[in-house]
Symmetry: C2
Subunit: 470 residues, 2 copies
């Protein structure tokens, strides 16, 4: 008799499979207020690893962390017309506090351009104060009508970078640097997700930006997921908040600003890009638990040997956990660790111990082999490197296989049933884009003929990457 | 002519001195919504170091990080009578979201016992699920009528630990463990603040707790500052939220819970405990910048040598910054680094370079000496250890000198003008406590005759530590 599947198979119902993974791998729950989420310890450990990797890259790019208030006066949002128009429908408003009604209601930040703009204006006097490179890790609130845990929640966690520069070129270069050196590098080399990096069309731009650049991932069901964005804000916010400086010749100038962010949505992306019918698959570079050592039975010093093995691995810099719950069957525990997507499993029982060996199981390739105990640390390290590469290769192959090079709008609709389409932007144009939007298909981004990020959206040879999106 | 002081002298106006340090050391600003704050990069770097040290200790104590929603249904708070009574006057309430009025208003979390209680109930079935040890790093909101940056703000950042246990003894032992191994250890050995650790009286207990334990620091003006608390919540929240489990004999039991937290208030404590008339003094173990290397002039390879020196120190694990702003005077820059409280300053000019030496200045002891360049890494490491010890010794001496052992309530009032008082709790009692409260003096905590934390507040030989408090 075949084993009943632990999860709804992806091919049967992808959204239900996603929900099953959240529950069974103990990643997250719905919160009591509609659209909010509870991130459980394993889900949060994944987020902490994402934070550590992104934060290190942000610091290398020269930005400093700071913290700005959750509550923003309603009047601040009014100051930038497109910004308030974009965010108004999603705002949560505090009208009552400290036992009485507030004179001016305050909004719970949906993003912090406005309040940070106010302080940038205060801190910027001379060109010597620029560039001003700030970042914050924070929660933000955007009321969601169709919430989905990690992907679209009324409250989510993110980092938001905000910078001010003395020239447009400097602002642009920094927004592009963050896009590639922080986001794309992290997603490709840590998450093993080969994102397509490009420029948003005017229709898809951030409210208040002059240019939005994006990293787009392909999900297991061939849709697209926006994983992070970097915006040039031109002088829009500088004008609204008075971010001015005296240049080298003593002339007062308006600054140029940028903003950029990635969020807990990336945890959803990780699940959707790499998960299979057995659960999550976490790339080794990211994994909070890279290796689990399973004691098969509490017999003949097995548990003690497993503990030593875990210590040896930890000493070698491997993130390892010991599973000595020998009162639960090995099969059940192996299934749990597969659900959680731990890249390498070491199983050690009395028979292995007698052979001075351990069974090494790779989550991603699914291969299994007996390894001498004396060589296990090195074997694990090689397996981790190998699994990282395999995950990226697989995702890259899938993205290539599921992206159709097409020439007409009709072909886009056909291709978008199961994957992405790429076609000349000159063929599609804003009108074709609007027509596709009627069918729930959007231009994810424009890329240059060489795959680079275009500086404008009206060059002749741009390629539009088009898909259904989460 | 004497130099004009950079800061208001502490003896002249302590609160104004505090405000001056916040501004001049670029630690924080007031936010636009009354009672909120902006934590600037240097202030935030200090908070990040606090987070890292506390987080490591929390993980060692076995708790796992998670994240629960900012928004809590109003009805949740109603379920624990004392809890809602304690927090109602401070709540911020969202009544409008997503473009319409909410059916049930939601409160912005003032603390998360209620929402976490709800999920603990969901996740706890059997004694095998206990203890359940959770922690979260988050922002919380408690509307403040008399705000003061870092000390009392309407929004602040903190960690809140929440745990559920199978027995009262186990819950108590864990709350005590956190108090000593996480909070007291961090405050004494990293912050160099010799906190007094004790038990709160019934009057000062957390709303909903059966026992509150606290770490109390002495400020530079002889007042007290509560730096962190650890609570036993008995079965109050378990009853309100149904946190139940089947014990080993299959009988349904109510769990016992704890909660515990420290916040950005500790940054205020750091300033108030260690600051002097020249600015902040940051203990080396905490300092985000332990050493600054100042190039005196850009002449004869000085800047290049400073850069190498900074690299050597970084390679030795020292957190170091290079200050090569040679267009600003050395005096001005030295004053700035003193304001920021960086423990060690290395000044290198052409003359020093000719002597193959560097001037090493200690912020805390104020001593200065020429050190051979070849021996500077070792000299810096010794200076850091020395400055850490000196800061703790000094704070300990001040606390001892400014704590009067008294025998009557009248003497307490006199002592509390400039410091703390200690007297037998049997002499003071709840009535004396109420009388002192009329004069703005409170019992900070009760300690045992041996200095330990008492298990009850009605033992015969308890000592009450009494002071004015921030």
């Amino acid at each position: 008799m075949a084993k009943a599947p632990v999860l709804t198979p992806r091919a049967e119902d992808f959204p239900r499979w996603y929900q099953d993974v959240l529950n069974k791998a103990e990643l997250a729950d719905n919160g009591p207020v509609r659209g909010t989420m509870v991130i459980r310890p394993y889900g949060y450990a994944i987020w902490e690893r994402m934070q550590a990797e992104v934060d290190a890259r942000i610091k290398t790019a020269g930005a400093q962390n700071a913290y700005f208030p959750l509550f923003i006066p309603e009047s601040y949002l009014q100051r930038e017309a497109e910004h308030v128009e974009g965010f108004s429908p999603e705002l949560a408003v505090v009208t009552h506090a400290g036992g009485k009604d507030l004179e001016e209601p305050v909004v719970v930040r949906p993003t912090s351009e406005t309040v940070i703009g106010e302080f940038m204006a205060k801190w910027t006097q001379s060109y010597r104060d620029l560039p001003l490179l700030l970042n914050q890790w924070a929660n933000v609130v955007r009321w969601e009508l169709r919430p989905r845990v990690f992907l679209r929640t009324s409250e989510f966690l993110w980092q938001e970078g905000h910078t001010a520069h003395a020239s447009e070129q400097d602002a642009r270069a920094y927004a592009v640097r963050i896009l590639h050196e922080v986001y794309e590098d992290f997603m490709r080399n840590v998450l093993a997700i080969p994102v397509v990096v490009g420029r948003k069309t005017a229709r898809e731009r951030f409210a208040g930006a002059t240019n939005t650049m994006t990293c787009e991932a392909m999900t297991g069901d061939g849709k697209a997921l926006q994983m992070g964005t970097s915006h040039e804000l031109g002088q829009n916010f500088a004008r609204a908040f008075g971010i001015e400086f005296l240049d080298e010749s003593g002339v007062r100038q308006l600054a140029w600003t940028t903003s950029w962010g990635v969020s807990t949505r990336m945890v959803g992306g990780l699940i959707m890009c790499h998960g299979d019918d057995a659960g999550l698959q976490v790339p080794p570079m990211l994994a909070p638990v890279q290796v689990v050592v399973l004691a098969v039975r509490d017999e003949g010093g097995v548990v003690e040997r497993c503990r030593r093995l875990a210590e040896d691995l930890r000493a070698a810099g491997v993130r390892v956990e010991l599973d000595a719950r020998t009162d639960t069957s090995l099969g059940r525990r192996a299934t749990d660790w597969e659900l959680k997507g731990v890249p390498v499993r070491l199983e050690l029982g009395p028979r292995d111990l007698a052979d001075d060996a351990v069974t090494l199981v790779r989550r991603i390739s699914g291969t299994k082999e007996s390894t001498p105990l004396g060589a296990v640390v090195e074997a694990v390290q090689m397996a981790l490197v190998g699994q990282q590469g395999e995950l990226l290769d697989r995702a890259l192959r899938r993205r290539e296989d599921a992206t159709a090079q097409v020439a007409t709008v009709e072909e886009v609709v056909e291709a978008a049933r199961s994957g992405w389409a790429a076609l000349p932007w000159s063929v599609l144009g804003p009108e074709g884009e609007a027509a596709l939007a009627q069918q729930g298909i959007s231009v994810r981004c424009l890329v240059g003929p060489d795959g680079g990020v275009p500086v404008t959206d009206d060059a002749a040879d741009l390629v539009a990457v088009v898909a259904r999106a989460y």
